[in-house]
Subunit: 231 residues, 2 copies
DNA sequence: AACGCTGCTGCCATAAACTGTCAGCAGGGA
DNA sequence: TCCCTGCTGACAGTTTATGGCAGCAGCGTT
């Protein structure tokens, strides 16, 4: 079985990602149970495969956030689903995530054999409409705030045109037909509130982390809903 | 470089997929430039990696339709896009494709390390609404008819409630908010027509292939549109 | 400037793996 | 029954990966 090497490379990637700060090659070599010389070769292999590993002399190695998918088998329909989904994201999401969707799609299509590319590519499957609303807010910053559980300060105009300023704890982001909605705990109201991203006049992500876990807020919020949204 | 072997395995997969009918190991061995014994070992390797290859004594090998993605690097945002896209497909598409989307999503999430799973999983990103309309028609059969360029016979009721029966050449399927729409050349009208899948009363996929290329129809249809739909 | 730490590359002998040949067994189809 | 084919084991030859050594270059600290 030729799994030994590729498996070790995946282990190396995971090890590398566990550390936030730069790791020296010596440490990585020990953790993967391999000599330093081999480790350098492994790093080179991973870089050749597209892993974004940066090595700097005197510092160590850093892996840019991301993930390497091991080889996987997809059925024809699963492939269609991935392609259609990416295409939807490329259309419906905010520019940055949309771009990421287009990139992911391009990566997948690039490795598809020609005949299968014809099957899923072109516009045999397409999604209907492009979103027309514009966000003043930086939605990717909101996603990041959710990931990092940061307090968000919103300058927000509601449906009646009333403008308010409040601090919220965002824990989820919903993609609806034409709008995106932040689910958050509102410090002002001491309750769950949702905010349309296109009604955000201005916002700021605080350095401070809010005092609860995002998943806990999500769970609690779900319990308050009459019709629970499935994941 | 350890690319020799894995590259050969991918070549083997592609070779295997080119044939529709069973291929003998001897042929595969010749095409990949390797001994028969090694070919058996390669097949075993691929099967161990999840490739759905079936070998039967006296017959040969058959690869179930699908594709193996080689190891690929995705950025965090690309991963989010894939996950969100799959989630949308799982909700918005017809049951069968939706299931494929869920499966693809599960496969990806399964290989994600725990911390990254938490980032994209749960319902941090979710899509808004579930489609409520029901198709009487088998949409996956429609997709297949498009792929194979088959004539489709429709029993169709239009918006005025008029019922018609016609033969069409389907070449694309559009996913809109609540409905799916077949783009096709209509033999009755000798022109392009579109059909909502939920208005299909009954349908039959003919064995006969329609006399034009799907991509050519698509291109021609695009030129007739005032506002060209991007791919 | 000097030193230590670290990434990185070349060389080479050793260890591990992959490969091909040969043999044999089992299942499918005529 | 016979042939074709998938499948497995054993073994030797070949290829590849590995580890140790040496040396060079970049970064940070003293």
């Amino acid at each position: 079985m030729p799994v030994a090497r590729s498996e070790r490379l995946l282990t190396l990637l995971q090890t590398l990602r566990r550390y936030r700060r730069p790791v020296t090659g010596t440490v990585l070599a020990q953790e993967t149970g391999v000599s330093l010389r081999t480790l350098y070769r492994d790093i080179a292999s991973l870089q050749a495969q597209g892993a974004m590993i940066e090595g700097e002399a005197g510092i160590g190695y850093v892996l840019k956030p991301g993930f390497m998918l091991p080889p996987m088998m997809f059925s024809e329909e699963e492939l269609e689903a991935l392609v259609l989904g990416s295409r939807w994201v490329a259309r419906a999401a905010e520019p940055r995530l949309a771009g990421a969707g287009a990139d992911a799609l391009a990566k997948i299509v690039a490795v598809l054999p020609a005949d299968m590319r014809e099957t899923v590519d072109s516009a045999t499957l397409f999604v209907g409409r492009k979103r027309q609303d514009e966000d003043r807010a930086d939605v990717s910053a909101i996603r990041k705030a959710i990931r990092l559980e940061r307090v968000l300060e919103l300058h927000y105009g509601d449906e009646q045109g009333r403008i308010s300023r409040r601090r919220v704890w965002p824990f989820a982001l919903g993609y609806f037909e034409h709008v995106r909605i932040i689910m958050a705990w509102c410090e002002l109201r001491q309750d769950f509130r949702h905010f349309r991203t296109d009604r955000i006049i201005d916002m700021a992500v605080h350095e401070m982390r809010y005092p609860r876990r995002r998943t806990a807020l999500l769970k609690e919020w779900r319990e308050t809903q009459d019709v629970p949204l499935e994941t």
